[in-house]
């Protein structure tokens, strides 16, 4: 018997959907509906009565059923023999009855459900906290208990030897259905279409011609058919087969992932990726010298959910993901030598014209950096078991992940000429004269093959202690592993240690296999246990109050993947050496002549490196929160919340070879004063210049209190007003992802002012906003609810939206351009010193005008003549920018019909 309970006494009123409702089968809503277990071959008879107010198209997965009788409560009409409709879906109107019969022919788990989305929608559940998104997302994936509600029955068919009619052993007819794009269909925009072909053993069976609607598939009754579905779109799609019951968990919908070339509809599988199908975007870097960016993503996922028993569900998942990214591919392949220069490109793949930087004018020539190619394969297998046992909802599972990342990068492969206003007083004149001042030709190509694996185990229990208290607790374990490199081309730095793998390396630079240094430099970490606990308490048991608290530990991976140190040329000594750098009176035609470029596979002197720390352990965060939520009146929710986070062992880049200050120190001899510089007294080049190192040793703290008032959507109105008071402290607010280039990170120099004193870097975070106020709202225009005629056409569905944000300005650091401390530069971290002045007043007591924002008199510049070698005492991020308000207000039309 299908029932409905609704809070609203007038379902015909606006809004038409009652606020709270429950759709039930025999007094229960999914997942609490009865689980039915049948044997194959058995005859099942069901009677259905619709005692609710709406009709229900009832749909059985995987099987057809016969409609044996229909009725309206007063009469019952029995259908016999050939008059019985055979269906997978049939409608039972309000107040009507239905008797049906069917025979399970396929073992497994099947659903019988109402096909109206709103009647199986989990957001309509009465129980708060079980809608999607509120559950722990890591564990809620593919959880049928959380992704449906209402009119759903679970049917478990067990395999038993039954005589089944054998289908004729005919050779299946093979078809290939291709989904693709039809260019220039809607103006310039493309349309989509289908292409259908007989026998699809090869995918090169001619060029597809996509049409919409697609071609008619004419089949012969009784003849087996295999249809391969190929998706040539840039995105995933799904092909729904009406009237054909696929043995698929997904309701006859075959999920076809983009680029997954072969998927056999007859078995509902998803094949591997075949067609890279690149997304092409041509990036014009400089007019006449275009470069091209391509990217492609392919994935294939196989999932299986198995109801082991009515209370135990097993979910298994195997997935493959490939991401390919080609950046700055050269379209103009003219080599420097073809253009008359006396040198070759440093990269065969990156060959193209040189780059000409004309100071004060637009640059010309081929792209300066790249090309860069990255291809990542991720293989993943995971399994989870859900077990409902009394008041416990237990979950445990684990997974294994393998990552392969292959990176190719060329840095300035075709040379870079810089024309300055010298010798002629105009850079453009010097270009015409052929008189560059600086030339740089990059090192040869960098190849990196990064490999990484990870494993996870977790267990979790949601324990309902009566109706008012729920305790959620669990622990997660992960193997946190850094990347290895397939040829062991990784650099570590241990001050004072001479490498045995490469005895010719400067002291301190170590390699995989050196004493105490693993194959990944950083060590595998197997102690990442992540306990977490959460409590939800409803003191009255009526949902008016909700008190929640939680605590958890979360580990992060090592930060040495692509885009970070491990793929950078300067972290690949001595394999990425080469090229040449010349300045002053460069010979335009033969710029490298006379210079002595570093020989590949030897160590340049002095050597610049970016290295990892063999003693590093992975960073982790502790999160905790406490909230009290109170439902006021009918539609209002008031919430107060406290959230705290402590980050431990966060990574930052550190200069481990800083300059020592002493008598005779000048900025000119800063590099020769480096503490591990190994500089010969005769003045010949030192062994080691900057030794930038990824160091996992800083902490962060974040505390925030929030008050918010929300008005749930009702009678055309919804709003949310919230206020945050928060404070965030850290040592560095982000890691520069483009190491080895002179730039700041959102205005912050990520180089520590004093490499000997990292503690003085501790200060407010760049994103600290002490006060933050957000108001947002939605108002459905009352006159726009009109239901008739022209007025409806014009106004129906219009609503007004607005959002307003105001927050305290972000903090910033005041730097002094003068390098009074006489520190050497650290190019892999930052292009310039991070010297700060002394603080002698309140920096935020300024006039707060455009001309004079902060108080300049609060700072004192260090005097080079008398204070050389000293660092200023002003902290990081002590000045604060102006408060920021943003608002937007717009009208929008929302139309369902």
């Amino acid at each position: 018997m299908i029932g409905h309970w609704g809070e609203d006494a007038h379902p015909e009123a606006m809004p038409p959907q009652p606020e709270l409702e429950a759709w039930t089968i025999n007094g229960k809503s999914w997942p609490d509906t009865e689980r039915l277990t049948y044997s194959m071959g058995q005859t099942i008879r069901w009677r259905w009565i619709n005692a609710s107010y709406e009709p229900h198209p009832l749909h059985l997965h995987g099987h057809y059923f016969m409609v044996d009788s229909e009725g309206d409560g007063d009469r019952s009409r029995t259908l016999a023999g050939d008059h019985r409709p055979k269906a997978a879906t049939t409608v039972v109107p309000s107040g009507s009855t239905l008797a049906l019969s069917w025979t399970p022919l396929h073992a497994g788990n099947w659903l019988f459900h109402c096909h109206i989305l709103f009647h199986v929608d989990p957001t309509l559940r009465l129980t708060p906290g079980t809608a999607p998104g509120s559950a722990d997302p890591a564990h809620a994936d593919h959880d049928p208990a959380r992704h449906m509600a209402g009119l759903v029955l679970g049917v478990h068919v067990v395999e038993e030897p039954v005589a089944r009619p054998m289908t004729a052993a005919a050779q299946p007819r093979r078809l290939r259905l291709t989904v693709g794009e039809r260019p220039v269909r809607f103006g310039d925009a493309p349309g989509l279409g289908y292409d259908l072909r007989e026998d699809s053993s090869t995918s090169q069976a001619g060029t597809p011609e996509f049409t919409a609607p697609g071609p008619v598939i004419v089949l012969t009754r009784g003849q087996p058919v295999e249809i391969a579905v190929e998706n040539r779109l840039k995105q995933s799609t799904s092909v729904h087969w009406h009237g054909i019951e696929l043995e698929s968990y997904y309701d006859g919908v075959l999920r076809v992932h983009r680029g997954s070339a072969r998927s056999d509809a007859a078995i509902g599988g998803v094949g591997g990726a075949q067609d890279p199908g690149l997304d092409r975007t041509v990036a014009i870097k400089i007019v006449g010298f275009p470069a091209q960016d391509d990217l492609a993503a392919n994935s294939a996922v196989l999932t299986n959910t198995h109801l082991v028993s009515p209370s135990i569900t097993n979910s298994a998942r195997i997935s493959f993901f490939r991401f390919e990214f080609l950046f700055d591919q050269r379209l103009n392949r003219t080599s420097p030598r073809e253009l008359g220069f006396d040198y070759d490109s440093a990269s065969a793949l990156g060959q193209g014209p040189p780059f000409f930087n004309v100071i004060g004018y637009s640059p010309i020539g081929g792209a300066q950096v790249g090309p860069r190619t990255s291809a990542q394969n991720t293989y993943e297998a995971a399994d989870s078991v859900s077990w409902f046992r009394g008041s416990h909802s237990l979950k445990f599972g684990g997974g294994f992940r393998r990552n392969q990342i292959n990176v190719f990068q060329a840095t300035v492969p075709n040379g870079l000429f810089i024309f300055t206003p010298f010798p002629a007083s105009d850079a453009f004149a010097n270009l015409l004269l052929g008189a560059p001042q600086i030339f740089f030709l990059g090192a040869h190509e960098t190849y990196r093959g990064l490999r990484n694996w990870g494993a996870t185990l977790y267990t979790q229990d949601e324990w309902r202690l009566g109706r008012t208290l729920t305790v959620n607790y669990g622990v997660r374990w992960e193997a946190v592993n850094p990347n290895s490199e397939i040829r062991n081309r990784l650099n570590g730095f241990v001050p004072g240690l001479q490498s045995k793998i490469r005895p010719d390396a400067p002291e301190g630079l170590v390699f995989p296999g050196d004493p105490g240094v693993g194959t990944r430099i950083e060590k595998d970490y197997y102690k990442a246990f992540m306990p977490r606990v959460g409590v939800a308490w409803d003191p009255t048991g009526r949902g008016a109050w909700s008190i929640r608290a939680g605590y958890g530990i979360f580990y992060d991976p090592f930060a040495n993947g692509p885009n970070l140190g491990a793929t950078n040329a300067v972290s690949s000594a001595p394999w990425a050496t080469g090229g040449c750098a010349v300045s002053d009176n460069v010979n335009f035609q033969s710029p490298c002549t006379g210079s002595s470029p570093p020989v590949p596979n030897t160590f340049a002197r002095p050597l610049t490196i970016l290295a990892m720390d063999p003693t590093a352990r992975p960073p982790y965060a502790q999160d905790w929160n406490f909230s009290i939520q109170r439902s006021l009146h009918k539609d209002y929710v008031l919430e107060t919340r406290y959230v705290g986070t402590k980050g431990t062992r966060l990574p930052r880049t550190v200069e481990l070879n800083p300059s020592a200050y002493g008598p005779g120190a000048t900025s000119a001899n800063a590099d020769r004063r480096r503490i591990y510089g190994d500089c010969p007294p005769d003045g010949s080049p030192c062994g080691l210049a900057t030794a930038a190192t990824l160091f996992y040793g800083t902490n962060s703290a974040y505390h925030a209190a929030q008050v918010s008032l929300a008005h749930r959507y009702a009678v055309g109105l919804a709003f949310n007003v919230s206020y945050w008071y928060s404070k965030s402290i850290d040592n560095q607010s982000g890691i520069n992802l483009n190491l080895a280039s002179a730039q700041t990170l959102s205005g912050e120099n990520d180089l520590a002012q004093n490499p000997f004193d990292l503690r003085s870097e501790r200060g407010l975070s760049l994103f600290d906003a002490r006060h933050r106020f957000v108001a947002s709202g939605l108002w459905e225009l009352p006159f726009a609810r009109t239901k008739t005629g022209l007025a409806r056409t014009l106004w129906h569905g219009w609503q007004m939206n607005g959002v307003m944000t105001a927050n305290t300005g972000t903090p910033f650091t005041v730097y002094d351009a003068e390098n009074v401390a006489l520190q050497a530069l650290s190019p892999p971290i930052s292009g310039y010193p991070a010297s700060r002045p002394d603080l002698i007043g309140d920096p935020n007591s300024g006039a707060w005008t455009v001309e004079s924002w902060m108080s300049r008199t609060a700072f004192r510049r260090l005097v080079a003549a008398t204070e050389a070698g000293k660092f200023g005492n002003a902290g990081r991020n002590i000045a604060r920018a102006g408060a920021c308000q943003r608002g937007s207000f717009f009208a929008e039309r929302f139309q369902v019909d």
Binding site: M1, G3, W5, R45, D74, R467, T468, T540, R542
Partner: protein, 180 residues
């Protein structure tokens, strides 16, 4: 925990913020066991309409206040007790309205084929006795509104007052495996 809940409910009742839901809990009815006593071609059945609490989403879900059918002396059931008889059986039923203020309008206690205008009104506190002979075999139901609504206009407290009435053919074998 029960004590705690009860304590919390008492506090709420005391402060006057709401009504205590101290009604019996309706159990879900899987419609497998027929109600009443079947003997000598007649089914004797004693039904009540009463206040109940109901948790359609299992014990984790909220308790709703609804009206429900029960067999006299037993817990309320949602859906109402299953009436399942062979064709031609006479159903002799008493229906008690235990509700404090609502009048019960009972539909469906009549011979089939029938017409929907066959209704019985039971004032609060009253008992009505009725008898009818089942007609054609088929799937039917009985239902109540306590606000004078049609079947498809019921929501909220009265929405669960429905029960199945199944009339089996005389030649039918044992009860089918499952029914919903």
């Amino acid at each position: 925990m029960n004590g705690l809940c009860r304590g919390a409910l008492l506090v709420v009742a005391f402060t006057g913020l709401g009504l205590a839901l101290d009604f019996p809990e309706a159990r879900p009815n899987d419609n497998r066991n027929p109600a009443g006593h079947l003997a000598s071609g007649a089914l004797t059945l004693r039904l009540e309409v009463r206040d109940a609490q109901w948790n359609p989403e299992g014990r984790d879900g909220p308790m709703l206040h609804v009206q429900a059918f029960s067999e006299e002396g037993a817990l309320p059931q949602i859906p109402g007790p299953l009436i399942r008889v062979p064709q031609g059986t006479e159903v002799r039923a008493s229906v008690r309205n235990t509700l404090a203020a609502d009048t019960v309008t009972l539909h469906g206690f009549n011979q089939r084929p029938g017409s929907g205008d066959h209704v019985l009104t039971i004032p609060p506190g009253a008992v009505r006795e009725l008898a009818f002979r089942t007609g054609s075999a088929g799937t039917y139901y009985y239902w109540v509104s306590t606000a004078g609504h049609a079947l498809d206009k019921r929501t909220g407290v009265e929405s669960q007052l429905s029960g199945a009435l199944i009339v089996d053919r005389r030649d039918s074998r044992a009860a089918p495996i499952a029914s919903s």
